[in-house]
Symmetry: C3
Subunit: 343 residues, 3 copies
Amino acid sequence: MLITEEKRSALHGKDLITTQDWNREELDQVLAVASELQRNRYDNRWSRSLLNRTFFMFFYNPSVRTRQSFECAATELSGHAQFLEPKAMRLKTANTAGETIEDAARVMSRYACGIGIRILEDQIGYYGAGDELLREYARWSEVPIVSMAHDKYHPCQGLADIMGIQNHMGDPKGKTLLLYWGHGALARSWCSVQEALLLYPRYGMNVVLAHPEGYDLDPAVVAASRQYAKENGASFQISHDPVECFADVDLVYARNWMSPQAYRNGELQKSEEIQKALAHSEWICDAAKLKRGNDPFFIHPMPVDRGHEVTDEIASGPKSLIIDVAECRLHVQKALLALTMGN
Amino acid sequence: MLITEEKRSALHGKDLITTQDWNREELDQVLAVASELQRNRYDNRWSRSLLNRTFFMFFYNPSVRTRQSFECAATELSGHAQFLEPKAMRLKTANTAGETIEDAARVMSRYACGIGIRILEDQIGYYGAGDELLREYARWSEVPIVSMAHDKYHPCQGLADIMGIQNHMGDPKGKTLLLYWGHGALARSWCSVQEALLLYPRYGMNVVLAHPEGYDLDPAVVAASRQYAKENGASFQISHDPVECFADVDLVYARNWMSPQAYRNGELQKSEEIQKALAHSEWICDAAKLKRGNDPFFIHPMPVDRGHEVTDEIASGPKSLIIDVAECRLHVQKALLALTMGN
Amino acid sequence: MLITEEKRSALHGKDLITTQDWNREELDQVLAVASELQRNRYDNRWSRSLLNRTFFMFFYNPSVRTRQSFECAATELSGHAQFLEPKAMRLKTANTAGETIEDAARVMSRYACGIGIRILEDQIGYYGAGDELLREYARWSEVPIVSMAHDKYHPCQGLADIMGIQNHMGDPKGKTLLLYWGHGALARSWCSVQEALLLYPRYGMNVVLAHPEGYDLDPAVVAASRQYAKENGASFQISHDPVECFADVDLVYARNWMSPQAYRNGELQKSEEIQKALAHSEWICDAAKLKRGNDPFFIHPMPVDRGHEVTDEIASGPKSLIIDVAECRLHVQKALLALTMGN
């Protein structure tokens, strides 16, 4: 599909806090440009779209993939991603004097062509506070705000997933996803799995959401996912059986996440969550369980907690998409920066 | 004014530790280029002046605006600002073995086209030690040293102030500045206010310096400011009245700063200074006081300590220049890097 | 020597973990390009060889020169060196869940054109563990791995040394190196001195290795150095006399290093090493001792521990190569990145 100049301008200036805020046509435009950039990584028509421009990366939480891929993305578009840690920013909080988000966002808008923000569970006092913070930045900023993962969503991971899936499975419509809770020692975020749960059924995938009792995801997210499935002629079901849920699936996404009881008294109870999760040792994606599926692909946002979420054999196996999907982070983010912030 | 090649070379290689070291013509040259860059931010005749060049940013203290604006400035000139924290540099100190400034500066000169340094009160043992450190770097460096704020001065803030003032007030000659001590919870630096006090009267502004008893600024700075006012046909006065001082002023600069007693036994007594400052709650810039002036503009180097130094109503109000002045940091710094370090 | 396209491709994709893994022709090719880049630093045929490309710099340990020079090198080749601290990477260790090197290296290969790694003694549990880590990265990475100094070797320092020596001494064949243990308060790495010991005799230099009893270097390195000397018609001797060893030498490399007893129970005993080293106060390179040599040059990888390893008079004196060699770091690293990673 040829992306015309008119369509480019439609996305210019647009925030991306979750893929839910964008329609299918807009998402497909990002994916189309990302594919073009994957085929021709350097020296393409977007190569100079951030020339002399700065993209601010705000890391309330440290990051592996996200920092590497966003900073590379800006470089490959001839721009520069500036790595910022808000702890150096003396921002105002409930307990300390400091700068307001109004002031920070208004000034940053004068310097940068866009602002990425990452804030995860352990930097906030309750579920949803990270999403509120991003929307507060978006309120004051004159340039696009992009989530680089926050407590509720991780839109760039969702887009990379879809790109990787399309590359390996073709059109995923009618294929079945198993979104599988893996046990583990890391007490992981909800953002990637919630983004997947919301996005995949929009591409027509049937959803099997499997987790132990007590590990429900955000009810609003689950309801929206169910609704997306319905609208797209797909099925939606929830399972609490760590083995049977693999029946007839085409794609397994195995990942740990915390329970809804993770916060108590305004603090994340991380070690308690880890202890609780490790008890469910039957919840691991392994070769024996995968035999119940249709020779399914394996997907994961990385870093993988090998031996807990999934066995080494599967994570490094021939059906694993993890490295290719991680590569897609670069392409979708380049497309996103070029389309929403490029000159 | 057309900046000729001859004038460019006159600034090439020049340190900027305080605007006091530069004459008016030199400062005006920076401001003229900065205006040109504001009108045409990208794709101008300076766009490639740092191509493949590195500007080192040395942050003994963390920073918000300064880091963002310098790093953007280098990017917009096609160069790269390298973010360095001297704590990783194993420099020699009174108590530890390590590298001398001679060695550090001589090698850095071989790598970079210029070096910016930021060192504030809490990283030194007495007032003036930061200025000495910058001058020691300048002694050994073969490339320009730029202050990115140090204990005594903040020349880039001063230049951004003047640019913002000229943009909004035209020629400020004959207009009256109120440099006003605001109470606050941050025990702030002297550098920005001292740079303002020294620079604004050189542009012909009358000065009213207002603060509680016991908050005198560096006597040498005050004397120089008074002298500059005299030379430029402007008035200079000091007030200890938090309300009357607003009479007939055209511009209010409200900012907290520490007392001359801030150091004791070679250490900054920050919490003591905060406690002492918070007692002066009548020292806040608010709408009622501003009514005594000539519908004055409000200026501040940011981050603003809202509710202490100034009310929200004024800081976010129609006469507030804070965001525009913060933007000017980018333009004056681009001009400075291009003129002193550009190829 | 004209570097033909065929020779360029011979180095493309090659790891550099120690100069021992490369033959003389390959090393000379890097040095030839480095000289070309020194004569014409900007706007040369390599200026765009990393255009839009990212070089990852992994600092398990902080760094002065290495970070500055690698980041400048990438900038001068139109690329970007991304500064990464593995502590933010949640890598798997013996005691914690996290990402495997397999996963980290495979994904980084998709983003970057090359990966530099620095890991020194205090980040590992035994001598050699750093070298093993680099080789594990090299096993999984699809792009070149470069040592930015690790426990055993420091190839870029070695190459910069040779370049500086050739610039000042011409062909060093037949000249005599004194590699001299200096006492000091920093308990320094073996990597730079071991790289020198292995590399200089390949360029035909006679070697005098001088240190107090109990400060033997890695026996395999000493044996290899002795063998290289033999193959290149040079002599090799070991001395424990802090004064006599200076007789007739042409070049003095004075540097502290730790004893082979530095590790105990899997931990580096740094303060114990410092205490032990400081007792050998006669081991310092000074003017009196240098009089025994042939008006020798002085070389050191910096940062210099002045007053311990060497006197100020010599470190800042007319025969000191330290600043020029530090500059050569930039040139050899540019050549290395261009030849192994450039497009």
